[in-house]
């Protein structure tokens, strides 16, 4: 398998490397803390590139999770023209400028490729209600509002909570934690009643039987049918729409270079990350963490980003999270 990947890689190499290639170590900038979903993904790519010799220069992971990820955005913005830095971005590129008025616009960066889409799942403690309907009924009947844990304030998790309230009529108190991992353990310890973590953030506590997935916020079920726990696979989780809550949200995972890099430099990274998506490491990671594989670049990517931006903006406005 690995030999095949290397062979495949070497076939790709010839035309691309005729142009530009990095002359010093490439920094992969993570807009989140250590151990979070972005960090895990960056380390997977670092390992995939190093093990399959996809690049001559080494790749280093640089954690810039300060200020809820704004640190990474400002860092990329100020690195204009530097082709040795690549950002692994998610929906914060739309949301942070709106909620905290960070002077940043993703259009100032150079888009490379969208490499995955991340799901959101509604989880509760395994001692809690067993279905979405029971969960909503319990939340409505509760004397004090159900506590919903999530990552950060006025971000994906918070937006989803607001829409969950709108569609079900139940009230939640939203508790913003510093990371998805923290939200997961707080749910296990019964300090919150639910969370809307990404699959990767709750995977291990689900396998240990400590939390229960209620529904996934997507149009269709997750495709991976291999058993994750003794009885369930990702594909066994119903969509929230099936369960009567029509809320959908997918989060992009995309690579960006700083602004004002040359087309040759951009092309090198498009090739590089395309090769990464062909590796066994990438495929394995996608399935394990229940990510949706996707590869968009060039015009397709820009069109996707524009649509995604508009949708996020509409959600943020409706939730009342846009700073005045």
């Amino acid at each position: 398998m690995r030999a095949a990947a290397v062979l495949l890689a070497s076939l790709w190499v010839a035309p691309a490397f005729a142009g530009w290639e990095p002359t010093k170590p490439v920094e992969i900038v993570v807009a989140a803390g250590a151990g979070g979903a972005s960090d895990q993904m960056a380390r997977m790519m670092q390992a995939a590139i190093q093990k399959n010799n996809l690049m001559k220069q080494p790749m280093v992971v640089s954690l810039k999770g300060g200020a809820s990820g704004a640190e990474a955005l400002m860092y990329m913005k100020s690195s204009e023209g530097d082709p040795n830095k690549v950002l692994i971005a998610y929906s914060l590129i739309y949301m942070l400028p709106l909620s905290a008025k960070i002077p940043f616009n993703w259009r100032e960066l150079t888009p490379v490729s969208v490499i995955a889409l991340d799901q959101f799942v509604l989880w509760d403690n395994s001692a809690g209600p067993k279905t979405v309907k029971e969960f909503v009924a319990a939340a409505k009947a509760a004397s004090s509002p159900f506590k919903m844990g999530g990552t950060g304030s006025k971000r994906e998790d918070h937006v989803l909570t607001v829409f969950l309230e709108q569609k079900t009529g139940a009230k939640f108190s939203y508790l913003p934690y510093k990371s998805g991992g923290e939200a997961a353990t707080q749910l296990v310890g019964n300090h919150t009643e639910s969370n809307v973590n990404n699959p990767s953030e709750n995977l291990e506590v689900w396998r240990a039987g400590q939390v229960r997935p209620l529904c996934v916020f997507d149009k269709e079920r997750i495709s991976y049918a291999a058993k994750v726990t003794d009885t369930q696979s990702w594909a066994d989780i119903p969509t929230c729409k099936e369960e009567g809550i029509d809320v959908q949200y997918l989060m992009l995972r995309a690579m960006f270079l700083p602004g004002k890099v040359t087309p040759e430099q951009q092309a090198f990274y498009v090739e590089l990350f395309h090769k990464v998506t062909q590796t066994a490491e990438y495929k394995d990671y996608m399935e394990k963490q229940a990510l949706k594989p996707i590869f968009l670049t060039g015009k397709d990517m820009v069109q996707f980003l524009e649509e995604d931006d508009a949708q996020n903006k509409a959600l943020m406005t409706e939730a009342g999270f846009v700073a005045k």
Binding site: G33, A34, G35, D39, Q40, R43, M44, Q46, A47, Q50, K51, P58, V60, V61, S62, L63, K64, G66, A67, S68, A70, E71, M74, S78, S99, A100, K101, I102, P103, S144, K147, G152, S153, K154, R155, H158, S173, Y174, L175, P176, Y177, K178, G181, E182, A184, T185, Q186, V188, G189, H191, L203, E204, V205, R207, A208, Q210, F321, A323
Partner: protein, 502 residues
């Protein structure tokens, strides 16, 4: 005993030449990064992580955790010799360690630091070995109110048990809390006190502050006073080492108390920093002659070092068992585990026995080898003191600057470090203690978040801090400690009047 069998199995996994060589290499690298101020454990492990991608998980974790142990040992060296904490948790070690070096007892202080590090780690490893399943369920009991109560306890113990006058401690702590507020506020998602500057978005990193406050200010003071490093190089000999060891049993209460505090705070991510301060303050509190602390008392080295290392080691337990890192280095190791295809969590102990018990066995072995290694190299480190100040000072400043820069790769942090150097100088001149400032900078954010999350959860009701036995007893203890001097005085008076009436 199932645990014992598994542990023996772990040793069997370890005892190969390849792993032993990696272990030594890791320890030496670790001591090196521990000695450089600011580089420290987390950065050292982060820089060396990619080296291990091609290794098998067990070799990789052994090497990385040995870097971690090495950094834990190394952090004490600069605290004692130069009054510059290599790591934030070594700050408390400087209180008595540096005066000892000034009195020409550097070797004794270093031996004490290393030995107590070893004891602290050992206690924590024993705990991990035998109590792993129970402890992970204990950590799950911690929600926002419990976390806040622990932070409150740390702050209160400072005010109540501190050796400086209370108002100065409170001033120092408040300034620290104020600076901790700079940057993004997690709970509201808004920026605070950044004044439109992109550099201030990150907030103020406490390591940058620590390097400036302690390191740079010390250089400034020395320059003003006499242009020579205080303290004398001591020749470490087997006799000094044995002498310190012979006295060890006398301090068993301190060692035990600090180990306990360390383990407790390591498991409930209070962290090694809080642990080292608490260990020190409590040792002083319970001493018969507290006024001798801060003037070069060996117990003042034992207490914080034991606590810091017990905490640093036990911080790995919640990382393995729950996937919550108890310290910065544990967080990087967590990233490593994922690269090697291991997901930390309750099932790790079931599904990857080789790995987990190999790691635990490496904690025993790594600590023994580490202790021998640092003790034999003490003469090398102690001889730094013989180098003239004019040659050493620039090297220290450069090393501080590199350390400050490396934390976030930001030039701004070097200016910040210099700024804090001046602040530290002024504080020392007017007699405001630096430790409460640092503590507030480290824990301020977390304490604030925990408090506000508790308030959101309870609908603004302060009774949540007495809502169950665990949180209630910690909060009550915190309040008692805050008013300890008054309570102590009252108790003394009662005893006195009783005696008088008899």
């Amino acid at each position: 005993m199932e645990a014992l069998g598994l542990l023996l199995h772990g040793f069997a996994v370890l005892l190969t030449w390849k792993i032993l060589v990696l272990m030594m290499a890791g320890l030496v690298l670790g001591i090196f990064v521990g000695v450089l101020p600011g580089l420290g454990g987390p950065n050292g492990v982060a820089i060396l992580l990619p080296l291990t991608f091609t290794m098998d998980p067990t070799s990789a974790i052994v090497m990385l955790s040995c870097i971690y142990w090495g950094a834990l040992f190394g952090g004490a060296i600069t605290s004692i010799l130069f009054n510059i904490p290599g790591e934030a948790w070594s700050v408390a070690t400087t209180f008595d360690g540096y005066p000892m070096a000034q009195q020409g007892r550097a070797a004794e202080a270093l031996t004490a630091a290393f030995t107590s590090s070893f004891i602290g780690s050992l206690v924590a490893v024993l705990l991990i070995t035998f109590l792993a399943p129970m402890i992970s369920s204990f950590a799950l009991k911690f929600g926002p109110p419990e976390f806040f109560a622990v932070y409150l306890l740390t702050f209160c113990s400072f005010v109540g048990l501190g050796r400086e006058s209370r108002h100065k401690i409170v001033i120092s702590m408040s300034l620290g809390l104020l600076l901790a507020g700079v940057g993004m506020d997690t709970v509201s998602g808004q920026l605070r006190m950044t004044f439109g500057s992109a550099e201030l978005l990150r907030g103020i990193n406490f390591l940058v502050a620590v390097i400036g406050l302690f390191g740079i200010s010390e250089i400034l003071l020395t320059m003003e006073e006499r242009l020579a490093l205080r303290g004398h190089a001591a020749s470490i000999s087997l006799r000094v080492v044995l002498g310190v060891w012979k006295d060890l049993p006398k301090y068993w209460v301190t060692l035990l108390r600090s180990s306990f505090i360390g383990c407790w705070l390591g498991i409930t991510p209070g962290g090694a920093i809080a642990a080292s301060f608490m260990g020190y303050n409590l040792a002083k509190r319970f001493a018969k002659d507290p006024e001798t602390f801060g003037k070069g008392r060996i117990e003042g080295v034992f207490a914080p070092e034991t606590a810091a290392h017990a905490s640093g080691t036990s911080a790995l337990l919640p990382m393995l068992a729950l996937g919550i890192p108890g310290s910065g280095t544990a967080a990087i190791l967590l990233g490593g585990l994922m690269v090697w295809g291991l997901n930390p969590g309750p099932l790790l102990f079931v599904e990857h026995k080789d790995f987990v018990w190999g790691l635990i066995a490496s904690m025993y072995l790594g600590n023994v080898v580490g202790l021998v290694l640092v003790l034999t190299t003490v003469p090398i480190f102690a001889s730094i003191l013989r180098v003239p100040f004019a040659a050493v000072a620039p090297m220290i400043v450069v090393s501080c600057a590199i350390g400050a820069y490396a934390i976030q790769n930001a030039m701004f942090d070097i200016w910040l470090m210099l700024g804090f150097g001046v602040v530290g100088y002024v504080f020392k001149k007017v007699g405001i203690p630096l430790a409460p400032f640092t503590l507030a900078l480290v824990l301020g954010n977390r304490a604030e978040d925990a408090f506000r999350l508790s308030m959101i959860g309870s609908g603004g009701d302060l009774k949540v801090f007495w809502s169950n036995g665990l949180v209630g007893s910690i909060t009550t203890l915190a309040v008692l400690l805050l008013f300890w001097p008054a309570i102590d005085g009252l108790l003394a008076r009662i005893v006195w009047t009783r005696r008088a009436s008899r």
